[in-house]
């Protein structure tokens, strides 16, 4: 009997193993003077259930625009998702009406932003903001919603949750606000938690607390995390798989272990070597020359070519494809093409 249910579950899991499937996503911004910024340009990836997937890149790489596209929160105009599909548990989010999409946000997808002060409303109490979400999405009565809010606040580590529900965001410190944001994001039991630079504004000792909390909550709520960050240290701590973005495209995709032990793309290698590390002591840091090109002026060919140490003639002619090196590693670079 036991075995049977097990195998049944396994089959069930196989079928619905993938939570989020993004296919050929293109988000362009149409700017003045007919300039087009290809902020996200043909991005495809999948996120499995229970997985923590990290999207890393520098500013201007398109990582935040990718996450906003998933939530359909691209300001339009000037932005527009011009192509691609985003399937969450089989539902194509791009085909939903704005009304249905509103149900998905908060309910199926929870979001944690970088700056908790600007993403919490300063004129409402913490409890009010969490309860509002619950009343809207879960149709709870006001009293029940407040009760649930207190429970959630306790869950994310507030000792005096009964008082915190009546406090305003300015009464909390940065780390506490981020905890409140997490409580709010989790309030409706989302399948997917998108965290956009969740610890960038926090001090390291607080960062540790928040990262641990996110991982703990992911397991408790059985959700998946899409973590957007520029910090490769944070990625190494929490991610299962990593996507490295550059110039609106994914240039490398691998499991976290594979990426750190065996980085392939010259950009990833350069990035890892340019971080001053606590463990090693180098006389001189490696650096990548030049800067990230603006999204309306990508170079022809490989977008990293002008900054690349291993650049070849053909890199300037056509953009290489993201090719599978082996089952857990993909890279977009001519160095690894047969």
């Amino acid at each position: 009997m036991q075995e049977k249910t097990d195998s049944k579950q396994e089959i069930g899991q196989k079928k619905t193993d993938v939570l989020l499937q993004v296919e050929g996503l293109k988000t362009y911004f149409y700017m003045e003077q007919d300039k087009v910024a290809k902020a996200v340009d043909d991005v495809s990836f999948t996120l499995k259930k229970g997985e923590t997937l990290a999207l890393v890149g520098e500013s201007g790489s398109g990582k935040s625009i990718t996450s906003l596209s998933l939530m359909r929160l691209i300001p339009s105009p000037p932005g527009k998702i011009i192509e691609g599909s985003i399937k969450l548990d089989g539902t194509d989010l791009l085909s939903l009406s704005e009304k249905d999409m509103r149900k998905v946000r908060g309910n199926d997808i929870g979001m944690i932003f970088q700056e908790p002060m600007t993403s919490l409303n300063p004129v409402y109490t913490i409890g009010n903001q969490i309860a509002e979400t619950l009343m809207k999405h879960k149709k709870l009565k006001k009293k029940e919603a407040y009760k649930r809010a207190v429970e959630l606040l306790k869950l994310v580590g507030f000792a005096r949750a009964e008082q915190i529900v009546h406090e305003y965001p300015h009464q909390l410190s940065g780390g506490m606000r981020q905890r409140a944001m997490i409580a709010m994001a989790l309030s409706c039991d989302p399948k997917l938690l998108i965290a956009d630079e969740p610890t960038t504004a926090l001090d390291v000792t607080i960062q540790t607390q928040i990262l641990d909390l996110m991982v703990e909550m992911k397991e408790k709520f059985e959700s998946s995390i899409l973590l957007i960050t520029h910090d490769l240290g944070v990625v190494a701590e929490v991610a299962d798989r990593v996507l490295v973005m550059y110039g609106g495209q994914i240039v490398e995709e691998a499991t976290a272990y594979e990426l750190y032990t065996n980085p392939q793309h010259p950009y990833t290698v350069g990035l890892l070597n340019s971080i001053p590390n606590l463990e090693s002591d180098v006389e001189r840091l490696e650096s990548i020359k030049g800067t990230v090109p603006p999204a309306h002026r990508f170079p022809k060919g490989c977008r990293f070519a002008p900054r690349c140490k291993h650049v070849m003639d053909k890199c300037y002619e056509a953009n290489p494809d993201l090719l599978e090196k082996d089952s857990n590693h993909k890279v977009r670079c001519y160095l690894y093409e047969e």
């Binding site: 520098e58 500013s59 410190s173 940065g174 780390g175 506490m176 001090d203 390291v204 000792t205 607080i206 960062q207 540790t208 607390q209 990262l211 641990d212 520029h230 910090d231 490769l232 240290g233 944070v234 990625v235 190494a236 701590e237 976290a256 272990y257 750190y260 032990t261 350069g270 990035l271 890892l272 340019s274 971080i275 001053p276 590390n277 606590l278 463990e279 002591d281 180098v282 001189r284 840091l285 490696e286 650096s287 990548i288 020359k289 800067t291 990230v292």
Partner: protein
């Protein structure tokens, strides 16, 4: 550090900001941003100051340059106590001490061309002719890795890393001896951050500069510093040569701080010391050792008595009761 000249001596430096309240806006308390800090800085070295937000590290930098007036204590720069000098007497000294700021977007005047920005300190100090100033601007731009044509452009035409280079060029105009960098690379992307760090190291050799490098990123500070000071709530918790601080941290706060830094390496998962709670408010710091409310090793004495910085061998100093015995009192 034997045989090296002291460039700067800081003795019991305090900077308190009054907190006003009530109808009459009377002073009802003080924020003790920098509270009894003492250290020496030797010529040609880089002293890194690390600490979390609210630890007072930026206020320390600003007070050393007399951008803020110290509440108490001495700042001895090249043998002269500058802590109480008037603005007029400070002016000739200021050319020897310069600052590079964190935000390259806010620290450059958007209405001035890059040439004017770099030239301005020379106009204030009135020592060079117009031709000499122009040559100097071009020379400095080249030194920091920008083309001379940048002279006629405006700050918005440059990226963050390039702007930080402009800020560094401006700091170098008067051939200073001492530069304070207040989070000079924290607004930059990692690939650009390493370019600016390398540039700062090259310039240190070329111009024989002494740096006070303030940052919250422990990796960056380790890379660039010779010695490191750790601040917590306005006080210096520990100071010493960087290999001592990083390999053998003595203060429980330094230990916790170092263990919290995420390392970009999946093979080495280190045991973390988790600190409870958050930084207390500097307007109402805990009695005794300021760290005792979060310290995993706190004992009775920590709640009542403020620990002094004491010598722990090879230029390492720590302010913690774990390293003093009761008989020392």
């Amino acid at each position: 550090m034997l045989g090296k000249e002291k460039l700067l001596e800081v003795r019991n430096l305090k900077k308190y900001f009054p907190v006003k309240g009530g109808v009459l806006q009377r002073t009802i308390g003080h924020v003790k941003a920098v509270d009894d800090v003492s250290f020496d800085l030797y010529e040609g070295e880089t002293l890194g100051i690390v600490g979390e937000s609210g630890s007072g590290k930026s206020t320390l930098g600003r007070t050393l340059l007399r951008l803020l007036d110290p509440t108490d204590g001495q700042i001895i720069f090249q043998g002269n106590d500058i802590s109480k000098l008037s603005n007029r007497k400070m002016r000739p000294i200021r050319k020897d001490m310069q600052m590079v700021f964190q935000d390259p977007f806010a620290s450059l005047n958007p209405r001035m061309s890059v040439g004017e920005i770099i030239e301005e300190p020379m106009l204030v100090q009135r020592t060079l002719t117009r031709k000499e100033r122009k040559d100097k601007v071009i020379d400095l731009l080249e030194k920091v890795g920008l083309s001379p044509e940048a002279r006629t452009k405006y700050p918005h035409e440059f990226s963050g890393g390039q702007r930080q280079r402009i800020g560094i060029a401006r700091a170098l105009t008067m051939n200073p001896k001492f530069i304070i960098g207040d989070e000079p690379v924290s607004a930059l992307d990692v690939s650009v951050q390493s370019q600016v760090l390398n540039l700062m190291e090259d310039l240190q050799d070329d111009f024989n500069l002494t740096y006070l490098f303030i940052a919250h990123d422990l990796g960056v500070v380790k890379h660039i510093s010779d010695r490191v000071g750790v601040m917590y709530l306005g006080k210096l918790a520990e100071i010493g040569p960087k290999h001592k601080i990083y390999d053998n941290p003595l203060h429980p706060y330094t230990q916790a701080l170092l263990s919290s830094v995420p390392v970009p390496d999946v093979e080495r998962k280190r045991e973390k010391i988790k600190l409870q709670g958050e930084l207390p408010s500097p307007s109402n710091p805990p009695k005794g050792c300021v760290f005792h409310t979060r310290c995993p090793e706190a004992h009775e004495r920590c709640r009542v008595e403020i620990p002094e910085l004491i010598h722990q061998g090879e230029e390492q100093y720590v302010a913690c009761h774990l390293y003093t015995s009761e008989s020392d009192i």
